[in-house]
């Protein structure tokens, strides 16, 4: 799974920002770096599977104590296989993608 480097911009609401930061510190998937300026905080995110990755990302995005999430880098697991596509063939047009024999 990817290991990513992110920058969080914490809210100007110091109480909400502290709560968000506390949650990050308590999360074993998150490593918190040293602040750059009053509200910018680099972190790393290391998850076990895509579902955890999605949940962690979404939590950061939606946290009221975090104004913004910037991405800096992502490293993929080299052994990771392409996952099943979640895309389904649309049924709205009458064509098909069936291969002829």
């Amino acid at each position: 799974m990817p290991i990513s480097g992110l920058i969080l911009t914490l809210s100007s609401n110091s109480e909400a920002a502290q709560t968000a930061l506390d949650k990050c510190h308590a999360d074993p998937q998150v490593q918190v770096g040293e602040f750059v300026g009053p509200r910018r905080c680099p972190i790393t995110l290391d998850t076990n599977n895509p579902e955890e990755d999605k949940v962690s990302w979404q939590r950061l995005q939606d946290d009221p104590g975090i104004d913004f999430v910037d991405v800096v880098c992502v490293y993929f697991d080299e052994d990771e296989k392409a996952e099943d596509s979640t895309v389904q063939v649309p049924a709205s047009h009458s064509g098909t993608m069936a291969l002829a024999d």
């Binding site: 990513s4 770096g33 300026g37 895509p50 991405v71 800096v72 596509s85 291969l99 002829a100």
Partner: protein, 822 residues
Amino acid sequence: MSLMQLDRRNFLKSVAMATATAAAHETFAATTNDVSLPQLDPKVTDPPAIDGVVWDKAPCRFCGTGCHVMVGVKNNRVVAVTGDRHAAVNKGLLCVKGYHVGSILYGQGRLTQPLLKTDTGYKAISWEEAIKVIAKRIIKRPKTFAIYGSGQWTIPEGYACQKFIKGGLANNHIDPNARLCMASAVTGFIGTYGVDEPAGCYDDLDAANVIITWGNNPAEMHPVLFSRFIDRRSRGEKVTLIDIGTRRTRTTEQADHYLCFNPHSDLAIANGIMQQLIENDTFDKKFVEQHCNFRYQVDPKKPGLKGAPSTFEAFKKAVAEYTPERVEEISGVPADKIRMLGKLFGRRDIRITSLWCMGMNQHSAGTMINNLVHSVHLLSGHFGRPGDAPTSLTGQPSACGTAREVGTLAHALPGGRLVKLKAHRQHCEDIWNLPRGRMNPKPGYHTVKMWEAFCTPTDQPGGDIDTIWVQVTNPGQTLPNLHKLFDPKANLKDKFLIVSDVYPTATTQLADLILPAALWVEKNGMFGNSERRTQQWFRQVTPPGQARDDCWQVIAVARAMFDMGHEGMRDKDGKFIFETKDDQGSEVPIWEWENYYGKVNVDEALFEEYRKFTRLKHKDLAPYSEYVKAHGLRWPVVQQPDGSWRETGFRFSGFDDPYVGKDASGKPKEFDFYHSTTKDGRAQIWHYPYLDPPEMPDATYPFWLCTGRVLEHWHSGTMTRRVPQLARAVPRAYVEINPDDAKAAGIAQGSPVKIESRRGSIVLPARINGRGQPPRGSIFVPFFDETKLINNVTLDVTCPISKEPDYKKCAVSIMPVSTSKG
């Protein structure tokens, strides 16, 4: 997990932390002049040295921001992506889509071989056969063939298509998806300044005191640009954000003022600001007197690109009716907020930047609202100084570089030239070494007309397009009113649809011939972003299976036609129009795939030819080799006496733009609109009245429908829906409904809702109080989901000047759908 794997992950985490910390310092230092960067671990290089990983630069594949990434490749596979700290655009940062850009190459279902439709399904065929099928079809009916592309074409790809259609076939039927997203910005710039594309640049975002988003949601659609604003605020700078929109978004969450307006009434708001500037006598008299003219539309219902000359007195009289109270009546925005905007624009001590994208462009009066927002900035003098800028953003990575600059529009020629002008056609014939008179003076069909002709039976009037070759876009999902403009093809057996793409899409559903295409760093490329920055990258991995470059596909078809004797594929000396020679002067058969990445760099050869077109409108480009060295350069790029090449940040401003004329003392003028439509160095301030849109809610269809995008997905989702993390974050389309409307209609969170317009219907789950929050009487649906085509519902009415459809408003009904089986 083995100890070795653990060590490797720990190492990667330390690298990720060091890189993120460095990027945070990079942005902080860049905006504070604090150059005392901390001591970083000297073992962490830039980009990081990771066992066996080879790094090279590329622009991100997604939106028009033009972020630079460093791509890490190992064993012919992309294994890492970092933001490029040396890139001025993003200073090392990326958004969530850039985060996953490497994964787009490896989704399941890549197209890897040409597929020809037969009575029993699709049959795999060779490239040789595929090329012959296309060449024979075009030769049989060259005038009824069209190419449809997008701002996802690289610059050389778009240029090759442009030359093939306009220089080779001379039928001019080429148009891009940019017609559906940027065309109104183009006509807005041309009508105001006489030449396309923004005068300012992203530096404006670092200098503005006030940022106004007009129907724009950069927090989700251009997050890296929004991050500049967030970063400034986080350091305690006072930057006021005013969000003028039709629904609350993540941008609104950060706004100091949110002005929610009734759809289409932005026309009244812009007029209201100008009324205030005049009533308060706070417009910039010096700027207006020295640099502006006034224009209006004689018949607002039949507007033209250049309108008619007017006077200040007539303008004053025309905007006088847009008092704050009258604007409130039309727009729903409180009069006090209109006064607030008027006061802000009346101040000389602050800098104001306006941003917009689809909200103003996908508008049945798209050209006119673009003209009016430019006019607000001109009348107030908030123009041309860093931080003072009216700036449109683009949704596609090379909407500017390819669609607008190369000119892959039905009416355009490279470098801002026009099909209809004889002198411009002759420039092209000269550069392309074509016989005089080869090129066709009649513009081709714009997007809506092209697809309407394709979906009309050939033996009926208006059915005169019978073959379309689609590259790098997905019209089967993104055209408006699909039941009219795409679906009829299914029953028109003499129409032939060719689609080059990387994955199956809603468009390949009806394709007769599917061609597998290379994607992003699987090929060489060049993009041009929203701030006039031209960027270059090299191929870093090989494409899967038989997937090949779009540009090669076009050149191969052109050569097949040449070999079959088609005169259009020869220049006036009888040579192939894409003849390419190596350093020794020998022709290289680049139409053979094994030679395409061989002795010559085809991108470089095409770009160097294209570059000859760029001087006429002062969009000068540097040699290809300069872009190899740079992280993009903003045109005009002008060679200096010492031989170096200098980019331009601020057009028309004497302090930066080398083409600004000189005053009597020999110094550059403060401003010079040197492509003025009135040929006097002046920009145009427009008046255009508020008129009701073509379709409005009524008793049968009482809601406004607005469509758009979401953070996690790009455009029609072809790539991002194949990235599991992004697909799982937002797996399906939904309809955002105001909680009061939902309650009144008996619609619960997540329950199915039928949305119906005069054109079609769709059922989607309800989302109430989600990320986006529409006001009462309005709903929003994203268009990324190919299993839920909202464009079955949308309206195909276009702006009369730009021909861009209005995806942002039409009338619909909503009703809950029973899920009980009893």
